[in-house]
Amino acid sequence: MFIRLVADSFSRRPRHKLLTGAALALGMAVATAALSVSLDVGDRLAREFRSLGANLLVTPQADSLPLEIGGVDYRPVNAGAYLPESDLGKLKTIFWRNNVVGFAPAVEAPVDAWTKSSQTYSTPAIAAHTRLIGTWANHVVSIPDGSTYVTGIEKTNPWWQVDGRWFKDGAQECVVGKSFAARAGVKIGSALNVNTPQTNLTLLVTGILSGGGPEDDAIVAPITIAQEIAGKPGGYRRLYVSALTKPEDEFGRRDPNSLAPADYERWYCTPYISSIALQIKQVLPGANVRVIRRVADGEGAILTRVRSLLWLVTFASLLAAALAVGASSAASVIERRTEIGLMKALGAGSGTVGFLLAAEQLLLALVGGAAGYSLGILLARVVGQKIFGVAPEFSFLVLAVIIGLAAIVTMLGSAIPLRRASRFEPAPILRGE
């Protein structure tokens, strides 16, 4: 009888039930979209922030004091210590290896460079003094577990734009900074002669680099070439690491040495920038790992703010969805006052009537919530695609939250009119008063 009553209510007024269901579905769709976008947005934004470049700098522990002005190191190349390049695969073996999104070692050496095309009949070729930065463009790193990983300066310094193409790893090629190119008359395809007192090389220019920093006045070449010039095969002097991190909170800023073992475990297993720095230090012996504070702290501050802002807006959208759904289910109960009156007149208790109506509403909530969820996922895909170019990942958490929310909200929305309806005497309602 109970099931028959519910089924009857649906089949008797299909259009009406469809309307209420549609309102429910629409509200839940918006809630789903907002929820899945903001669940996803933290990770997405953290990844976006990596376009600001490296947030960790690794230098040799035993290094002498750098004499660096405006990004140019004025120490002689043979001064200071170098670290072995072969160790770098270990970076992808640390606990937070998947958070290391890119790294690139660098070796710098002063050189004199000239090209034939800058030579004319009146002026013989003049060697221009500049720096050669040896690094990885797209280097295949072999990781101790047997797999490989491609990384390089393109990942750590995404704002470096190359007109032309990057050099090939290990090839006798290079890219030149745009102001050096203008100064020395170098074009893409030129053969660049690079001289130092010890070596004499000819490199093919494959691209013009513009980065907005001191690199605009330098030559960037495969690291092997710079190592050869510096006389330090297989070594690097500086390593830039770009890692996804969790903004440092009160706990993250504490000195790890002062933590209790359980707290230390928690600190170590949280992707704070300082715990990633420690993990890198553990796999690279003799290295000094420093946090580039400007980048790390700025990122942390903005991420925290944006996250709380988005949660707030999401909460507002959930609230609005709840109101919309609650209002429409309240309306559908109010309209059935006559029916309730009749049921009571025929001897149904308030409990039975309430139970019957609640079951109907719940059924509607499940169907509408599920429909709204699928609609909302589509909406979230569109929004995510438009803003980040990637659709947010599917999450069961959202589905659970949405169905639960739909059920609670419809129940709450119908509870108030139901209570009022149960207090009415059947007779006046049936008379139409």
């Binding site: 934004l45 600001l52 001191p214």
Partner: protein, 394 residues
Amino acid sequence: MPDRKMFWRIMRRLLSANRGRLFVILLALGAGAAITSALLNLQVDAKRRLTAEFRAFGANVVIAPSDSGASAESAQFLNDSLFADLAKGMDSSTIPKAEFLYGIVDAARVPAAKDQKDGASTKVILAGFDYTGSRPEQVLPPALVAAAQKVASSDTRACEVGQRAAVTLELSSGDTVSLSNGSRQVSCLVEVLPSIGGAEDSQVFLNLRATQTLLDQPGRISLIQLSVPGTPQQIENHLASLRRLPDAEVRPIRQFTEGEAKIYNRISGILSATVGLVLVLTALCVMAAMTNVAMERRNDVGLMKAIGGATRRVLRLFLAEAAILGLTGGILGAAVGILLSMWLGKAVFGIAARPRLIVYPVAVALTIIVAIAGAFPLRRLASIRPAAVFRGEA
């Protein structure tokens, strides 16, 4: 005009007939308007606030001599007066900026007691610096600003030593270090900086005037750093105006200007999308409530038609009622929205959002439109036959 008088009289009765229901409708409309205006206000404010947050990344523009970077030997300098001129410029006066003069000097620890021996002399980069603007931590490392403000109160000459330089020179805060360049020499009280992660860690910072004297470069500086606030477009405009400076090259620090532009666009995009969704929902919610009201008026419509009211006039009456409700609810809600957005701004950014007046007329207008749109199902009532209503048929 008796017609108009009657109109208002009916209107008064319609509104005051059921106080409880009036309250519920005003609540729905007001809540809608409050959410709308709070979110619109917060969105406008948040975008502005975000650009200010980006200043945490420090300087985004460098002014250097036009042919800098060629080599160390031919290092060029800017004239000190350029910095003062920048500060005088109209829109540049509030932008945080710092000037630097770099040079290589020999540094050694001065023993505190006679029986200790001198520390070994090491070559370090000496950075002379000075800054203007109300928020120097937006252009200089915050740790350096804090240290500089701390030593500024003392009478003795002090210098801030980067963490790596301090380790190499075996210095700790409170020691004295002597800096020498040929025959010129100064000594200063050391304040050790925490690790910053950049080149600053291996530098020694000193007051600009003292550095100019020590390096024998009076009135000269190596470069100027600025922290230009605003949206990517505003920064670009500011750069264009700076590029008119003579003998100087203005370089945006692409790492930050480009990254910031990208992130700003993403964040403002996501914010707009979510706010848009919420507004659509709120409109739906208000419309649902209004539709409810309209449907409850079946009996009224039936009676009016029975005593000879033309459908158009009856309809006009109910639409006017919806508009009045929308206006009242909208104004009340917008007022709540102001307070709400100020509180939300405080919760997220630590500073109350500044109310933007344009938001409120927009929110009120939107509420009225939605209220009228919600009352539109009344049109269906035009086809109602009064007799059917009175018989109590649905």
